[in-house]
Symmetry: C2
Subunit: 733 residues, 2 copies
């Protein structure tokens, strides 16, 4: 076990029963000041004496299975859509609505099927009248009496969740069916349903009374799970971390209609099979639903938090699982009154997502790896490597905005089998505390202008663009996700702005550069928003007045008025869709430019823009041109500037290139001499109040870099993955 | 000079003055039976004694420059669109309509500007009323009095062509301005204009009388050039081999209105800057214009052909240059009464394009290289290599459908400097004649079902899909162009079918497999045509009845009803647009399948489908899967079958794979044993009437291949680029 650390605190350790002595040593080594249990572990009695604070998980929506089984009419619902079925003739068309779904997870809910189910002829877009179909409850077979031959039909239907999503996931993933077959398959209950809310409140009160050792109630989470559906072979079929499909119920939909004055249709939820993915341009109805459920969840969650506080405990929310309705950048979140949020660090962006959450007293990040046998084994597992990767990835974000606390999760007994892992996380815990201590609580200086990320979602999805399943890598998305991943560790204040907000209030005064990044037709690019002359006019005049605009991939894209990229005049580029192949291209290639000064070889645009991009404006300077397609270009528009990237997957060089592009677009190339390092593997944070700067080495090799600032140059050597603090004592500020 | 050939004829040789003796030897060596002049060469007096037929070029629309200069009001017009100009404020917006155009090629035509010019606010799509703008004729500056700030404007305007397109191209490309500055810059005249038609007819009569040595008048071509515009730096700015923008005039547009009962707008021609590229889904107005001008051109061309015939000469048309209005698969073409068409072979598809032209007595192909100094030089030029490539490329098509004649063009004196080139084309001429002689005039057997290529254009653009500038390679198009390039040399009857034709008459009885290949939103994929339930229903029922459907790239693509590939149920695949990333994919990968049996390693899909493709149907078999995206898949639909390719650039293996896919989709895998060779570099043609088969080696290496047919197997060895004829004499048919 490593020796005692230089400082202590800010660290939460997962613990378990039966290894008290080792826990004592480990708490000391890490300087941990809090402990927690995990799903499947129990707190030992020694917990309270080890540390200042004891956390315990708490599951409001599935914690009491005895009660759940006694109240089968309280299951949480989920909207599902049947497969697309093609009618092969005029005879009645039978559709097994559950085809392809996992029958242990769902069963059809037959409550008022005429109201909540919807059969659509997808070929014409017409709803099949209720009189035109019937459903057999015994089999779940829906029959369309007289289909149009060769038309495609779908059935949207309300299902009961007969197995709680997260528990099902853990159960199946960990093979509990084999290893622990007596374990119950937990059922979720919906607080909108008969008696549930009264029970949930009382159960929490009871639990608090019977768990005086718990200081912090770690809600995991509240009431509605993000969308997961498994398939007929018990595999994941659909996963959407932002999905609201499992936040529905007849009660909620009725309440919505009563309040909003219009009725939501099944189609508003299943959305043609797209299920309102965050990549879809959100419909007004879906936005209303988000607001409706978020308000409801916040009100109810606040009551649980109030109960927790009344019992003298803290209330912490785990950001994940049943988090629907608690989007932390939504307008209702702060009203919940939580003390803290804890979340998993899958990337710099998700770390910033947690770090920047407003309306809570403190935030905590759970680093990877989770202490599970998939990594903690002697058969190829690399816990040290994963710890390093997690730390390096998140550290960029933590430097910009230190989270208050860190921790790990899982089975600590597993981790203890790997002394070199314990040693490494001991160092990480110290480095984490050092960032707080050496910065003196001061945030490092940012550029004198803010960066606005412009999309359909705006602030609601702060740091959450291009995500599907949390921070999981997606081939289609990583070339865009790199933008916020880079920003999460760069010296800029970042504002996430929606088209609506900008239309209503203009671009905020402090924003110097706007970024629009995404594939055509997605919420992140904006789709039809760009056919709105108010938006294009507003952005054009704003750029021309001396601001910057950065487009990535297919920015401002919609087929309108003879253009596809609507701001092709600003960006100086256009996306080829095989409709202008007749036009010759004579791009002006520029070798040396401040934006691409750190790019060696070919600029890496990941998956690119999905097709060729060409220069349109006479003044467009093409900085990277590969196989007849623009990868990087710059253009001037009035007194403003624009930069185009065909893709921007995260890498140290691309992050640095984005930083350069932001300075250049804002007309502030002078900042390239101000707290800027020569090696792209490194980043500099400057603390003016401390007269101190931090250089981090994001690579696993030793680096030697120059650092420029205040007209001076420092040569700094940094060990692999290391960081160096330097005091600036001999220079006048 | 090589010895005299085994047979003679079918060959046209370009000749020139001053080398009579060498011409005599060359005519003998090649077995040439016709000679021609070229642009810039004159026929020597010996011509008529050398060969049976003497061709002479003839330019009906620019041949008499003295007359052109005397009649300056007869210039051909062209529709152009100004650059897109963004208004930066409410003050009057001045647009130099000619900005970016070549002022030696065009000048604005101010005839009735209020009728023929059109100013459009592209941001709103609204036409700016004529009262809202004015144009200064001295400068070509159009001023919009009160623009909307930050809106984008364009001006569509009629221009005079003050320099004939082809002559300008040759003049600039060959640097005649330096080498021959006295050469006149020729002006084109429009037969719709004052007195032109009378002059053109009379000029032809006069010319025929004064050129009794000419047997064949090679019209180059008739009246309207395909679209070419040069830019301000005298470079090609826009080229569209199918463009009708240069077929316009006030006279024609007025006549159209009188006949069709509606007025065409400038926008109908400039098409938002897309200029009705063949990749655009054609508008009804544009289709009407094609028909209107084609009918007019055919009527007038017929008169010239009649004059030619009356003088006892043949009339041949060069397919190119001023060919607008004479599309050879259009319904008016045959009425012209031409004896022959000659065209350039840039690919197998363009060779078939010429070979299959209906309504003429014979066709002729001009092989590459053209005898120009760009290839015929001793400084890296490779005339033999180019001749081989041209021959190998076209031979595939010629075997399937022999053209009647072949030839070359350019300056023969240049070619004579390269004896090894003369030797090689001597062999090629003999091989060309042998294909006619050994096949006995019989076409090789095709598969017992026809292949339909389904797109917006149908038969009008037979063999002309995905072309921009003739057979020029385009990065965006080659992955689709490979489909017809492959078909041009494969043993299938090919029908080019339009959506309209199929909707009106169904799929023709003889068609066994339909192909829809193209990028979303293009005329070749079909765009909005696929939102028409009649079309999808018709194709679904047709496939389900036992036919085949092959989709390439983004077939049947339009955003409609929760799907993008509308026949995703038939194809079993769907194109990811970042809207269904939440859905997990479990493709069924199949290692061995008849369709991909010749693919070694990774299937080459060229540029691919522009994004990821995933399997949708449970039965979809994925035959090639790269980085999470389907490249080849097969699916069954009712009694029919479908094959999907994400791209199909031409290569011997891909051509073979398409052949396999066609057999498989038609349910005729048995054909893989019938006149099929084991080596994909080879192709087999079977002549049942001759009881003889031909195996061609399309590669530059010697091959040994098995040939299967009639239950027998032959082992055939073929030299590089060679071919082998084999008689089947010992087997009963």
């Amino acid at each position: 076990m490593p020796p005692s650390p230089r400082t202590t605190g800010r660290v939460t350790l997962p613990i378990e029963e039966g290894i008290d002595d080792r826990l004592r040593e480990l708490v000391a080594a890490l300087g941990a000041d809090a402990v927690r249990n995990s799903d499947g572990t129990w707190l030992p009695e020694v917990a309270a004496e080890l540390v200042e604070k004891v956390y315990s998980t708490y599951f409001p929506a599935r914690g009491d299975q005895e009660w759940a089984l006694a109240h089968p009419d309280t299951l949480v619902n989920q909207y599902l859509m049947s497969p697309r079925i093609t009618a092969t003739g005029p005879e009645p068309l039978r559709i097994d609505v559950m085809e392809g779904y996992f029958r242990e997870q769902f069963r059809p809910c037959y409550e008022r099927v005429e109201r909540f189910w919807e059969v659509i002829d997808r070929t014409t877009g017409q709803v099949v009248p209720v009189q035109g179909w019937s459903v057999e409850e015994a089999t779940g077979i829906l029959t369309i009496a007289r289909p149009e031959p060769w038309h495609v039909y779908t059935v949207a239907f309300l299902a009961d969740q007969v197995w709680d999503t997260t528990q099902m996931y853990n159960y199946i993933t960990n093979g509990w069916g084999v290893t622990d077959p007596t374990r119950v398959k937990e059922r979720p209950y919906d607080i909108r349903k008969n008696g549930v809310w009264e029970h949930v409140r009382q159960a929490l009160r009871t639990w608090l009374e019977s768990h005086p050792e718990v200081d912090v109630v770690r809600f995991t989470t509240f009431f509605y799970h993000f969308t997961i559906a498994f398939d007929a072979e018990a595999r994941e079929k659909l996963v959407d971390w932002f999905g609201y499909s499992a936040s529905v119920s007849p009660e909620a939909i009725d309440a919505f209609e009563a309040e909003y004055g219009y009725a939501l249709r099944a189609e508003d939820f299943v959305d043609g099979g797209y299920y309102n993915s965050p990549f879809r341009v959100p419909t007004p109805a879906f936005r209303d639903w988000i607001d409706f459920q978020s308000r409801f969840v916040a009100q109810r969650a606040k009551e649980l938090v109030d109960i927790t506080h009344a019992a003298g405990r803290e209330a912490m929310m785990f950001l994940g699982d049943n988090w629907i309705g608690t989007e932390p950048y939504g307008e209702h979140f702060a009203s919940i009154g939580l003390d803290a949020v804890v979340g998993s660090a899958g990337s710099a962006a998700t770390t910033r997502l947690i770090a920047d959450i407003p309306g809570v007293r403190y935030t905590e990040v759970r680093f990877l790896p989770y202490f599970f046998p998939d990594v903690f084994n002697h058969d190829g597992g690399d816990p040290v490597g994963e710890a390093n990767e997690s730390w390096l990835t998140s550290r960029r974000a933590i430097v910009r905005r230190p989270l208050d606390r860190m921790g790990y999760g899982g089975y600590v007994s597993l981790a203890l089998e790997f002394p070199e892992f314990i040693e490494r996380i001991t160092e990480i815990c110290q480095e984490f505390r050092d960032i707080h201590d050496r910065s003196g609580g001061e945030l490092p200086a940012n550029a004198p202008f803010a960066v606005g990320v412009l999309n359909s979602w705006g602030s609601l999805r702060t740091w959450q663009t291009h995500m599907v399943a949390h921070a999981k890598w997606y081939k289609a998305a990583y070339s865009y996700g790199g933008v916020v991943e880079a920003l999460a560790g760069l010296p800029f204040e970042v504002r996430f702005l929606s088209f609506d907000e900008v239309l209503a209030h203009g671009v905020p005064e402090e924003v110097g550069v706007l970024i629009n990044a995404g594939a055509a037709g997605t919420a992140f690019s904006g789709g039809p928003a760009w056919a709105d002359e108010r938006l294009t006019g507003l952005i054009r005049s704003w750029v021309a007045a001396g601001h910057g605009f950065i487009g990535v991939g297919e920015p401002t894209a919609v087929d309108h008025g003879g253009a596809f990229l609507q701001l092709s005049d600003v960006l100086g580029v256009e996306r080829e869709r095989q409709l202008t192949l007749s036009t010759d291209r004579y791009p002006v290639l520029v070798e040396d430019h401040p934006v691409t000064a750190d790019v060696e070889g070919v600029f890496d645009d990941g998956e690119g823009a999905g097709g060729d991009v060409y220069a349109t404006a006479a003044g467009t300077q093409v900085l990277s041109y590969v196989e007849g397609s623009v990868r990087v270009a710059v253009n001037e528009f009035g007194a403003g500037r624009a930069v185009y990237f065909s893709g921007l997957p995260y890498s140290p060089v691309n992050s640095r290139t984005l930083q350069r592009a932001l300075y250049w677009a804002a007309g502030r190339e002078d900042l390239l001499e101000e707290w800027f390092s020569s090696d792209p593997a490194t980043e500099v944070a400057w603390y003016p109040g401390q007269r101190r700067f931090l250089v981090t080495n994001n690579s696993s090799r030793a680096v030697r870099t120059s650092v420029r600032g205040m007209g001076r140059t420092w040569e700094v050597e940094i060990e692999p993955m290391g960081l160096v603090w330097t005091d600036v004592t001999d220079v006048e500020c």
